[in-house]
Every structure is written in C-alpha cells, then in structure tokens.
C-alpha cells in the first residue's frame, strides 16, 4: 500500500514536471514573432528549403533578441543573432539609452519577409521585411514617443557556423521599388 502511494506520487510529480517543461517550451515558442518568408523571386542563386527554414527561424530569433535588448538595455543579448554593423549600431544605441535612462519597447505583430538576393557563393542574403511593430520609447516610465504601423526594413543576413546572422538592418522610407 505504501509502495503504491509512493509510485502514485512519483508519477504525479513526473506528470507535473512534464507539463511544466512543455508549457515552458510553448511559452518560448510564443515569444517568437511570426515571420513569413517568400523567396519566389530570389536570385541569382535559388534557396534550399532548409536554408529558407533556417533564415526564417533565425530572423525571428533576431527580432525577439532585439526587442529584449532594447527594452532591458542589455547589449549582450545581441550576440546570438547579430553581427557586423547591425550589432555595433544597436550596441551603441543601447549604451546611449542606458546612459540616458531610456528604453524602447517593441510589440511585434509579425513580419512579411521577401528574400530577393542570395549570392552565388551562398555567403549573403538580402531581405525586405514589412514589419508590423508597435514601438514605444520611454524615459523612465514616461512615454516619449509611440507609433504603431508597418515599417519596411532592408536586411542583410550572412551565414555563420550553425545559424544566419543579421549583418545590416535599415528602416526604409520608400520601399516602392521592392
């Protein structure tokens, strides 16, 4: 009888742990913004299916990390999915924000991404992103600026050992020629 109770308790604890772990995974997945990639007109190299999946995944991670880094003023959060000019620029902004007591909040409603250039040697990919993002800039708790709408970004991604990095990301005023 005592053994049965112990077994029952152990099974119950195991079930609770599994449910919690599953929930954590779900929450992590929910934390990623929605990214839809269209590579129908990419040139001069065509995109492999796995590459398309990886670019989509890593671009979503990059936006998640950027939102966290700019909100918490932690430039270390840029290390995983940013490199080159993009990383340097955002790191400078974060350092400035931290000095001035500012922070930026993003509420990400998703990205429609079109991949249009993939170099022949596979070393660079250019994307155009129609991002639906709410932006709030705060000085302490005071909202200095807020906006909500679609912003177009020109993005350059380059591959690393096991992932794609955002090397350059630039907000565009006029995206009519894309």
């Amino acid at each position: 009888m005592k053994h049965r109770r112990l077994l029952l308790s152990a099974a119950l604890i195991f079930a609770v742990l599994c449910a919690v772990a599953g929930r954590i995974r779900v929450l992590a997945a929910e934390g990623l913004p929605d990214v839809r990639l269209n590579a129908d007109s990419i040139a001069p190299r065509s995109i492999e299916e796995l590459t398309g999946r990886n670019v989509t995944r890593d671009y979503a991670y990059a936006w998640r990390d950027l939102a966290l880094a700019l909100n918490r003023n932690q430039k270390g959060m840029l290390n995983d999915y940013f490199t080159g000019f993009a990383k340097d620029d955002f790191a400078n902004r974060i350092a400035d924000q931290a000095r001035s007591g500012l922070r930026t909040q993003y509420v990400d409603h998703g990205h429609k991404v079109k991949a249009f250039f993939y170099s022949i040697d596979g070393s660079a990919m250019q994307l155009i992103d129609q991002a639906q993002v709410e932006v709030r800039i705060l000085d302490g708790d005071k909202v200095v600026h807020q906006e909500n709408g679609t912003q177009t970004y020109l993005v350059l991604m380059t591959p690393g050992a096991d992932r794609w990095f955002v090397r350059s990301i630039q907000a565009l005023n006029n995206a009519s020629d894309f």
Binding site: P44, S119, D121, V143, H145, E147, Q151, N173
Partner: protein
Amino acid sequence: MSVAHRVLSFLVLAGVAFAAELHPPAQVTAGSGFSMPTSGSGDATFYLIGPSVAIKKTVHLGQEVKVDATEVETAGKYVASLCSSDNCSSSTFYVVAGAPDRLSFMLHPSRVPVSEPNAINGTAFVFDKFYNLVLNPSTVNFQVVQRSGPPLNHTVKAAHGVAWMRMPSTPKEGPVKVIATVQSANEPRVIQQVASDACHLRIKASRTAKGVLVETDPVRDCSGNAVPDGTVVSFTSVDSNGKTTVDAPIKKGIARAELPVSGTARISVASGVVMGNEITVGGRS
C-alpha cells in the same frame, strides 16, 4: 466661438506653455547636421533616437535645436521628440546613405581551373563613408588583371547596394587579380588559376631489363598549362598474364612507370577522366 476655442484662448492668455512641435526635414543625408526651430519659452527635453544613437538633452524653447553631423551618421529611421513637463511632441525622419565611398568585395573561389565557364563569381556591397548601404543606383566595375594580356572589364549596376558578376576563368594559369571599383573606392582580390585536366595525354615506351618503361610526354592541359607535379597518371597494361595498373605521380611535368610485360601487351594511359593514347609492345617471352 466654441467652448474649446474659449478654453484655448484662456490658456494662451494665462501663459500656459505647450510643448513646441518639431519639424525635422523628411530626409537627411548621413553625416549632415541640421537645425530645427522651436517655439515657446522655457526649457524642454529633446530626444533623438536613431539606429545607433539615443540622445537626451535639455534645450531652450524659442531657440533652434541643433543636430550634429555625428548624431546622424547611420542610415535609417529617427525619432525627434520634444517634451515639456507634461507632454511630448515627436516627429520622425529618415537618414539615407551618402555617395558611394567604400566597397566590401567577396570573390569566390580562391583557386579555380583555367578556362572554366562561370567559374568565378564576385559580389560587391556598396557603402557610403559611414558604412551605410548605398541604395541609389551606382555602377561597379570589376576589372580582371591577368599575368599577360590586357585587363578585362565587367561593368555592373548595383541594385539595392549590391553588384554581382559571374565570369569564366581565363586560359593561363597563375594569379589573377580582380579589382572592384565604385567611384574612388576600389577593393582588389586575387585568385589562383591552376591548370585544368590533362589534354592530349601521350605515352612512349622503351624496353628495360625488367619489362617496359613507359613515360608520358610533358603533361599539359588543353590551354598548354603544365599539369601540376603530384597529379596521378595511371598506366594499364594488358598482356597474356592479365591486366596490371600502376599509378604514378607527375614529376617535373612527366609521369613514368615500369611495367612487367609478358609477351605482347597493350598499354594505355589515363589521368582522372582523361584517356591518352594506347600503344602495343612486344615483351620478352
């Protein structure tokens, strides 16, 4: 007069300050400072938030707010905001790249066989002096400088900051320099062209004490470049005892091997996928 207008007039007459509106230019070239007039009086807090800056400073209303050239070096969207004690007014503007001034150039591969179609490809990214991608159309020239002969030029229009080209390798082995140029900026890269597969592989044979010594003529590719030493050449003899194959590396341009031959034998030669001539020798019985 409406109630709202009356309230507004009262507040103005009473001297209540409103946050002054900012009117930045819609578009600014990277690294170009500018000023914005403000109205009103007293102090306010000015914020400038851009891709690589977040500036907060106190300004005096009624005077111009100056944005330094160093504060708008990165292309992208900026927010300029002016806050008084109770409210903020903000505007956005875009900074765009200046004239092409720098290049990032990738040439691939680093070693390539001669006379291969579409074997060499290059991608050049066009930047201004602050490393902003130049999105206005610009012309990039790719100049191929060979060891001998005149340089070859490929001119490509950069689209969205990128120009790329694909070209065949030239017929002569050795280093080839490719220089990407946009306006005053240029970036050279060097690739090594190596001989291609052997071409017109020919052998001759002479009798020795142990059998037959077979050797090639100097091994060259179809463009006349010497195939590198170490490249393996296979000699095969078929005689009454069966088939014998000996692999020999090229040394000083020639591959040679001694084959044991019994009676009459047919000897052939190959290197990689390339077959050479076939000869018949009479062996010792």
